[in-house]
């Protein structure tokens, strides 16, 4: 059982590591295109953390990352990241607890699920506003998900190590 102090340290550490990864990503790979698309890191952070933490904590983390993204990045509509990351975090947590065992495959699955939620909102928004073609959007979403999953090589071990440090 973690004390209040441990919980504060734990989530501060998650915050610092997440910001560090985002900073590292923005300094090195932000403009890099793979499969013709740019990689996107925040959904990976949400997916991995939500899969290892309990549902409520994961949802709060997803909400925080989503809010940060909405405040700093441009989106297809104003609260797209907050909405999609919170929902995705809840689903990822449930999926990781009930269906999958924690590991690389689980991280891949939850990352895919987070991108699914985010891209579903993006597609719906663009379709409603500009009647953008679904097939094109689906292709972009798929390529973005696959390209971004490569970032799990760094995110998965870093966040999992942090989780283990506070649970064992």
């Amino acid at each position: 059982m973690l004390t209040r102090r441990d919980i504060i340290i734990k989530w501060s550490s998650y915050g610092v590591v997440s910001l560090g990864l985002l900073l590292l990503f923005s300094l090195t790979l932000r403009g890099t295109e793979i499969l013709g698309v740019r990689m996107f890191l925040p959904p990976l952070l949400v997916g991995v953390v939500a899969s290892v933490e309990d549902t409520r904590a994961g949802a709060l983390y997803g909400f925080a990352v989503g809010l940060l993204c909405d405040l700093t990045l441009s989106g297809t509509f104003p609260c797209v990241y907050t909405l999609s990351f919170t929902l995705a975090a809840v689903c990822c947590s449930l999926l990781a607890k009930g269906v999958l065992q924690r590991g690389v495959l689980c991280s891949l699955a939850v990352t895919g699920l987070t991108f699914f939620f985010l891209d579903a909102f993006n597609m719906l928004s663009l379709w409603l506003r500009a009647r953008a073609p679904f097939s094109e959007m689906a292709q972009l979403a798929l390529r973005e998900t696959v390209a971004s999953c490569l970032l799990l090589v760094v995110c998965h071990p870093a966040l999992l190590a942090l989780h283990r440090k506070f649970t064992i």
Partner: protein, 279 residues
């Protein structure tokens, strides 16, 4: 040896004195060096050569170190001078670029006296695959407001401010899916709509719809802002027609428009904060 010198020293000294006197007399009467002197010179010449060589070597070394030290000092002074000149050259280059930009701006201002410009630097380009936006370093503190138009120093349209903070603003570029602008076909004056398209956004293109049925579009035709409604200034170049295509339903045509500006290489842009409405 000591006994020999004490016994015969006086005789030896007298003999040497006699030889010296003889040599003096001979050298006085002879036109060339005497035999003895010549012999002595021949015998000494290797030593002289060696001595001279050693002296020359030492002198060379002394000069080398002396010159080396002088050169080091001179080199340091020249390096400083080069650094100073390079700094000056860079400053001149910066001044020249700034001058050129200001001249362009003055030219733009002279062309469009109705515009109130604010120059801005691009801070960030959107990282999302779903939108194409730019973040600039000017905001409400500098008089920037939502719906201000952003152009290059040449006066080509980049986009429209969609969000303005205190010292930053977000610009929705003309290739973004949400863009929709009233436009004119410059050659004919026909009114059209320039709008972003999700598929074309990835090619950094946008499309022109509501094409006039009886006006054939030519590749390279300029499309400019119409200014109708007074939301945006008129006659700002959006781009040129690249090709004409038919809609998926096969009923209407649209033109693919290549923007005049390159969004990836732009660093400095100009925000049009105010303009006179020309209907």
């Amino acid at each position: 040896m000591k006994d020999f010198l004490s016994k015969h020293g006086m005789w030896i000294l007298a003999a040497m004195a006699a030889v010296a006197v003889l040599l003096s007399v001979l050298s006085y009467f002879a036109s060339t060096s005497t035999l003895l002197r010549n012999a002595a010179g021949v015998a000494l010449s290797p030593f002289r050569a060696a001595s001279e060589a050693a002296n020359r070597w030492l002198e060379d070394k002394r000069h080398y170190y002396q010159e080396y030290n002088d050169l080091v000092e001179e080199n340091a002074a020249l390096r400083e001078e080069i650094a100073e000149l390079r700094a000056n050259a860079r400053q001149v280059e910066r001044d020249r670029e700034e001058n050129a930009k200001l001249r362009e701006l003055i030219g733009l201002r002279e062309q469009r006296r109705d515009f109130d410009f604010e120059s801005a630097m691009i801070l960030e380009r959107s990282t999302s695959n779903w939108t194409r936006t730019l973040t600039l370093n000017q905001g409400t503190a500098h008089g920037v407001a939502v719906n201000n138009v952003v152009v290059t120093s040449e006066g080509y349209l980049i986009g429209v401010v969609t969000e303005a903070g205190l010292n930053w603003c977000t610009v929705q570029t003309i290739i973004d899916t949400d863009t929709e602008l009233g436009a004119l076909l410059f050659r004919t004056g026909d009114v059209v709509i320039a709008e972003g398209d999700f598929t074309l956004m990835r090619e950094k293109r946008l499309k022109v719809t509501y094409l006039p049925p009886d006006t054939p579009l030519l590749v390279g035709d300029y499309i400019v802002t119409s200014g109708l409604g007074g939301y945006y200034p008129s006659n700002i170049v959006i781009g040129t027609v690249e090709r004409v295509e038919t809609d998926d339903d096969g009923l209407a045509q649209y033109a693919v428009l290549a923007p005049m500006c390159d969004f990836d290489t732009q660093t400095e842009v100009f925000i049009i904060k105010a303009f006179d409405i020309v209907e």
